[in-house]
């Protein structure tokens, strides 16, 4: 790990912290001594090529994969070993890889499921309107089955569904996957806007260039190990990054 520079948002306790996390799938080790800190209000990016363990990191945070050793803290409280629903109830929400919408349910039902853990009917309705404002395309397709939406609309719906939980920490797994460049740009712009309104974002991406443009800091994961971490700005100009991740994308 290279010595990283403090960025202005790194103040106080990290809202999310992974300390020496090891995760396994049976005998296969997918994560090895992973240390990550995410501070309130940041966009932190996790970069890495295929099978590096990015998705596994998110699943470990949400308790869908139990770490074999190491600790995970949310706002200073340990959450590793807790049930997924308990962790989600603490305002951590994921936009899963490949969207994974409930394809046979309507746009509206997908959004409503996002608010499954909330009970404030009025608040939910207000947030629904807000999400539809962010993604006007969804409003036109509110009663359409999610499976019949276009790829771009599906990504919007996946993000909207997560927003319905009113998350404080938003975990996103490769939101740019399979989208045309113009849509990727739009998606990242929206992520930035969501972040500007106070949501902390932990973003998994292979599209390093675009991700670093909006991120505050980033970690680079390689076969389960964090090999690099620094401010986004530094990484964008890092020659090692240039050849490994940025060259091929741009």
């Amino acid at each position: 790990m290279s010595g990283s520079e403090q960025t202005p948002k790194q103040t106080g306790e990290p809202i999310l912290k992974l300390v020496g996390v090891d995760s396994y799938y049976g005998p296969i080790r997918a994560l090895e001594d992973v240390n990550i800190e995410v501070y309130q209000g940041e966009i932190v990016c996790l970069l890495g090529s295929n099978a590096a363990g990015k998705t596994t990191t998110l699943k470990t945070i949400l308790g869908m994969v139990k770490p074999r050793s190491g600790e995970i803290y949310l706002r200073g409280n340990r959450i590793d070993g807790k049930k997924t629903t308990e962790i989600v109830a603490q305002k951590v929400t994921m936009v899963p890889e490949n969207r994974r919408l409930f394809t046979r349910m309507t746009t509206r039902e997908n959004l409503e499921i996002g608010a499954e853990l909330r009970d404030d009917k009025d608040g939910i309705e207000k947030d629904l309107q807000k999400v539809l404002e962010i993604f006007p395309r969804l409003e036109e397709r509110i009663n359409q089955r999610a499976g019949t939406l276009s790829g771009g609309e599906q990504q919007m719906l996946a993000m909207g569904r997560a927003l319905m939980a009113r998350p404080e920490v938003l975990l996103m797994d490769e939101p740019s996957m399979g989208l045309a460049p113009i849509l990727v740009e739009q998606v990242f712009k929206t992520i930035k806007e969501i972040n500007d309104q106070g949501t902390t974002v932990f973003l998994v991406e292979q599209n390093a260039h675009m991700a670093l443009e909006i991120a505050d800091r980033a970690y680079v994961l390689q076969t389960g190990n964090i090999v690099l971490s620094d401010s986004a700005e530094k990484l964008l100009n890092d020659p090692k990054m240039q050849e490994a991740y940025l060259g091929e994308v741009t």
Partner: protein, 572 residues
């Protein structure tokens, strides 16, 4: 042409199969139209017509415009059915010259005589070939005429066949209705000789044709008018229709024979079971093959607490037995649900299958027999009196079952549109993501098992009351399979589907009784054809339709959004 040959060969084999297994001869006693057609010959007619029809059906690749069939289709149809006819004829020739009775006992002299139409076997080949070709061309011709005429025509023919086949049923009911209406209870205008009379056949054909024709040409406007109504109006119309249906069902036992009322009650029980399992399988997506266990729990719990001859030595009044039974079943449902929470799909099916068998084995075991009566079961389940209505009277029990069905259907319907139903849907589609959205998988699975168990036990209770006793042999795997089959037949997750499915699956075999040993064969043919024609079920829920007819529905949805005035083309 290749297709025509292929279909012709298949049709030929089928038309030889029927006489060989003895169906033709047996069904020749059954009149379809008095003095004109017997069921045996109808089968040949239908095969030849169908072969021609299928051959002439326009074929096209997806996305291409179907080419309208030309006159050549007539030729192909004739060829197909002609081949079938020749095959059948050659078979008659063969059977006439060689005695096949040693191997095929049904190929009797009378059969051959009949199949040769009284002439020599040689002439049978000619008659069958020519007749087949003519019918094939006729069947193919159906494809040539416009849809607006073809549909009513086919439906009218089907209706005539159906009405004739249900003669034993209807001929018992109609006089009753007529005399209630103050008319002469004479049905000879419709039925004679165990089938439709000639006038009856013409009447049915013409009426159905005109009715369906009117509906296809005007129906679109009616449907549009309906769709154009406000949501509230539509709900009122729907509610009104359902109310009418309920009233009709309530009136039915008044005109039906007691045998039919009995069947109706059994169908009702299966509807209850189906609605219960539908929650587990259709809503929550948990494939449970041991559902019969809850029927058993309900029956035994009822018998145990109600029967004076049960091992308990004391009895409880019904108003305590009902909630107690439901509670016991729910608890057992949750207990069974517990260990299988982690299992999915096929694994879950196998394990629940085991549970169903365990339930039966426990009841029969020496260990439980002092309490549950072993193979002797529990006798003396006295039916209760509710508000002075004696439920021992089958007709009264029917009403209680009917009310329960309505109630449970309503609860099911509310559930499916509630937050719980939504969570079940999400869980069924993608358990992992649902959990990541905060859906408590464990909680909702147990809720599904518990609700299903409670409803299953309710049917069990009626089952015990209806029979007046319980035996372990009633609770076998076949019940679970039947309930699952009726759900699949009707359409997973669909409440009307469950009801129609129960009528077809439980009612149909009863009505087919007159066909004796061929009952299950016909039943099987009907089931297979239904599933081939409508794999998503008879009345699918919209969600399931998606799965199997995604392309059609996408179009429909595009229209939907157009209707809402926001159909701009999708960019991505």
């Amino acid at each position: 042409m290749k297709l025509a040959t292929k279909i012709g060969l298949i049709a030929g084999v089928v038309s030889i199969y029927f006489p060989v297994v003895g169906i033709t001869e047996r069904f020749d006693d059954r009149t379809i139209i008095d003095g004109v057609l017997t069921l045996g010959s109808t089968i040949f007619l239908v095969i030849a017509l169908a072969a021609g029809y299928v051959v002439a059906k326009p074929r096209h690749l997806p996305g291409e415009e179907p080419e309208p069939p030309g006159p050549s289709a007539l030729l192909y149809g004739a060829v197909a059915s002609g081949i079938a006819g020749v095959m059948a004829g050659l078979f008659v020739l063969l059977a006439d010259s060689v005695d096949l009775r040693t191997v095929l006992i049904s190929v009797t002299g009378t059969l051959i005589e009949r199949l040769s139409f009284g002439g020599s076997a040689g002439s049978a080949v000619v008659i069958m070939a020519v007749g087949g070709a003519a019918l094939g061309a006729l069947g193919a011709g159906l494809q040539l005429i416009s849809q607006s005429i073809r549909r009513p025509l086919v439906i009218a023919l089907g209706a005539a066949l159906l009405i004739s086949l249900t003669e034993p049923l209807l001929n018992a009911v109609i006089p009753e209705v007529l005399s209630k209406l103050g008319l002469k209870d004479d049905t000879s205008w419709l039925y004679t000789g165990g089938g439709l009379s000639v006038t009856g056949a013409i009447l049915v054909l013409v009426l159905t044709f005109v009715g369906v024709f009117a509906w296809t040409s005007r129906g679109e406007r009616v449907r549009q008018a309906y769709a154009g109504r406000s949501n509230r109006d539509r709900r009122l119309i729907k509610g009104g229709a359902l109310l009418l249906l309920a009233l009709f069902m309530a009136y039915l036992p008044q005109i039906l024979t007691s045998f039919l009322s009995e069947i109706l009650g059994t169908v009702g029980l299966y509807i209850l079971l189906g609605l219960g399992l539908n929650i587990v399988v259709g809503y929550a997506g948990l494939l449970d093959l041991g559902y019969v266990a809850f029927l058993a729990v309900g029956s035994y719990s009822t018998a145990l607490f109600v029967s004076e001859r049960s091992s308990l030595g004391w009895t409880l009044p019904y108003w305590q037995v009902v909630p107690l039974t439901i509670v016991i079943a729910t608890v057992i449902g949750i207990m069974i649900g517990g260990p299988v929470l982690r299992l999915r799909g096929d694994y879950l099916a196998i394990v629940t299958l085991g549970f169903g068998e365990i339930a039966r084995v426990i009841v029969q075991s020496d260990w439980a027999s002092p309490t549950l009566g072993g193979a002797q079961g529990i006798l003396g389940v006295t039916a209760p009196e509710v508000f002075g209505v004696d439920l021992r009277e089958p007709r009264n029990l029917y009403y209680v079952i009917l009310i329960s069905v309505i109630l449970v259907a309503f609860i099911s319907w509310r559930l499916s549109r509630s937050r719980v139903g939504r969570a079940w849907n999400a869980m069924r589609e993608d358990e992992q993501v649902a959990e990541a959205m905060g859906v408590s998988i464990i909680g909702y699975k147990l809720l599904a098992f518990g609700t299903g168990a409670a409803l299953g036990s309710l049917s069990g209770m009626f089952f015990a009351i209806k029979l007046g006793s319980v035996f372990p042999s009633s609770f076998n795997l076949l019940v679970s399979i039947n309930v699952l089959a009726l759900i699949i037949l009707g359409g997973m997750g669909s409440i009307p589907g469950v009801i129609v499915g129960a009528f077809v699956l439980v009612g149909l075999p009863e009505l087919l009784r007159e066909f004796g040993e061929f009952r299950l064969l016909i039943f099987g043919i009907v089931l297979v054809s239904l599933m081939l024609l409508k794999p998503e079920g008879l009345i699918p829920s919209r969600r399931r339709k998606m799965e199997l007819h995604a392309d059609e529905l996408e179009e429909e949805q595009y229209d939907d959004s157009a209707g809402q005035g926001g159909a701009e083309p999708v960019v991505t």
